[in-house]
Symmetry: C2
Subunit: 422 residues, 2 copies
């Protein structure tokens, strides 16, 4: 499918992440003192759906009235795939070149540059996976040696653990360096101190839009997914090293998880579906995919020190994952746990084969042994205060791009004393 | 404090779990087709607060109007400790022997025996800890040998992991045996099959009633806790054994977590506060308790096979825990993750020193090596289909008891085929 042209001129530019083919959903502050508004990105503008709803200029069926009032997308998601499709069709009709009422809709365009974004949905629960083979191999090699890099279960299970939904924030939110228990290898006992090895994890996140109440197949799981976001699962490597045995990461992952401002729908990503890599071990039938459920989405990580320039550290692709989000979601339901609208599933860190395709500083600096050189002579093993980390991603179509908006976070200094009260 | 007498006669019986000293909060179905009602247990009755609210016979300040309309306790919890205390005082005034308007309130009493209970609060997020030393030592001995039973971090950190809030159910809900990936030690590859080693974990759960947005002290954490429930964290030991390295339990804990029908408030438990056991390693200052924050609550586990008799398997006490819920909650906030009203923190399995004080079948049957003998010649290593497991707990006051109501779950057979659709 080629570029679909819009009467919003900036949506026809070849480098925009938001052509008419995309139509991603987000939430923004029309008034910083008020609830956010729901909007759809088109070129460098946002169509203000909450305001259109209020003014009754959205031609939607009765059951969709007031669905954007809350300023988040959960209610819309809960209406199900038929409504998702019908609304997308309506948006295309409203925003396509030559649309009849373009003059009416133009009044509801807000420049993206003028507004602050909000979390686009209430995160019901957050699960993080570990489903990138290159990442798991890199980390395993550092921690357990190359011989034992992949745990025995890794080729059979999309390994995952429950995360903390309350820590999910929207792109642009500053991330404060956490305190935690740290124990150096040459020390007997831990200290309580600010994290020294603060890191990112480049991931994609799948958002559940259709609930379930028992085991689902991979096909059913794919059908349940509403859309995808970029995810930066901030990680305190030193906290993790001391705490994670035997029950997994906890406070190491509790500081923040940033997501991109825009949810790209499954419909927009449809042309970019691809197969997961060839299996090295045959999967159990419940995990086998009936069709392509991964996506070809080029991704990148950049770092910008305070007063420094922005440097791309790594370029990789979502298609490097060993397990798709549909497989992860199917596995997530096996033991009977209900899935709900707004559940977020992080893919796990996405790394490619080579050093410049790695999705975490832990891997890029090889645990701090191979410092990263930045322009101006600075080096990095892990993140320093004042650094801004940016994840980007956009699928490349035939003359257009489907992007998520950058997922940005600046790391600010730890509190001097977390227990001092004013 | 001795027994406080009520005009509800059954509340004065020495064996009731619900004297006027208790006043635990729950939710029940007045009409199974409608929203649940909020109620307070008194003797063998429930005072129907939602109906009283609707009929405007509750003498509460204006800001408390409609707080029970939702049928769950989250809104009430969110009003904060001053309201919790004032409402408890009001309830005592209404239900004490000689209360002026007893005749009015009597119309709002519903026999507990006549109603089905509902989940008393919407679980925001669920965290499970591993903070019982006897349990951790038992499990560690089985898995890693007596020399390495306790992980190196255990005496420094209240080890915890995030669980799945959507799997929390109220006592009385049947629990369906899950399917999952199982790999026998003598097999190379896993199979997908119903769990064969299904188990319980006897725990207490603390409910967060005051939110936080950054690290809190142990004292602040204690102040944030609204009350406690009994928790049965159902566990699939064979799923866990294969999946839990390196990121912890996931589907092994996703089937269900049952909680008692009644939330016992911190106020009711005040007389039973006790200190955590003596430290074997000095805690970091942020985890040190400024006062007694554990509770002396005798607990028990019973099993009843289908058509068999009920047998108590184990008796232990909440005071056996090494870390209190306040310490767990303080640790939970160290890395900055916000805590919200309705967060549930499972204490971890509560075992005592001796075999008849163990809080899981895994420990009682020592991994299946020492089968449990039941009356009538049956034996158990783990739970069989049709077995009903009951957790009970009641603090023993001066002539009265403070109980939670039994936490009951019957295990029903796994689905024949989880992916067969009607």
């Amino acid at each position: 499918m080629p570029l679909m042209r819009s009467w919003v001129e900036s949506a026809n530019a070849p480098d925009t992440e938001f052509p008419l083919n995309n139509l991603p959903y987000g939430s923004f502050y029309d008034d910083p003192e008020d609830l956010p508004h729901c909007g759809v990105a088109i070129g460098d503008m946002i169509l203000d759906l909450t305001q259109m709803e209020e003014d009754q200029v959205l031609d939607v069926p009765e059951e969709m009235e007031m669905v954007f009032f809350s300023g988040v997308w959960n209610e819309f998601m809960a209406m199900g795939p038929a409504v998702w499709d019908a609304f997308r069709t309506l948006l295309v009709e409203m925003l396509r070149e030559g649309a009849a009422d373009a003059a009416v809709y133009r009044d509801y365009l807000v420049p993206q540059a003028d507004v602050e974004m909000a979390l686009p949905f209430v995160v019901a629960e957050y699960t993080d996976f570990y489903a990138g083979k290159h990442h798991a191999t890199n980390v395993g090699t550092m921690f357990r040696g190359a011989e034992n890099a992949l745990p025995p279960n890794w080729l059979s299970i999309p390994i995952g653990y429950n995360g903390r939904a309350s820590s999910v924030v929207v792109s642009g939110t500053d991330v404060r360096r956490p305190w935690g228990q740290l124990k150096a290898p040459d020390q007997d006992l831990p200290v309580f101190a600010p994290c020294k090895r603060f890191d990112i994890e480049l991931e994609m996140g799948a958002i559940v839009g259709v609930p379930s109440d028992g085991p689902v197949t991979v096909q059913e799981a794919d059908d349940m997914i509403f859309g995808y976001v970029l995810v930066n699962d901030w990680s305190a490597r030193d906290i993790q090293a001391w705490e994670y045995q035997p029950l997994g990461p906890f406070q190491a992952k509790a500081t923040a998880t940033s997501i991109s401002p825009w949810i790209v729908t499954k419909a927009a990503l449809e042309p970019f579906r691809c197969n997961t890599p060839e299996r090295e071990r045959e999967l159990l039938p419940y995990l086998q995919e009936p069709g392509p459920m991964l996506y070809d989405i080029p991704l990148s990580v950049a770092i910008q020190p305070e007063n420094g320039e922005k440097t791309v550290l790594s370029r990789t692709n979502y298609k490097e994952m060993y397990y798709s989000s549909a497989q992860q979601l199917a596995h997530h339901t096996t033991a009977g746990s209900p899935m709900n609208v707004g559940d977020l599933l992080g893919s796990g860190t996405i790394s490619g084969v080579t050093k410049d395709e790695r999705g975490s500083l832990l891997e890029i600096s090889w645990g701090g042994k191979e410092p990263i050189e930045l322009p101006g002579g600075q080096t990095r093993n892990f993140i320093e205060d004042g650094d801004t980390l940016t994840l980007s991603g956009a699928a490349a179509g035939d003359g257009y791009r489907i992007g998520f908006g950058d997922c940005v976070g600046k790391v600010i200094a730890a509190l001097d004393d977390p227990y001092k009260r004013d």
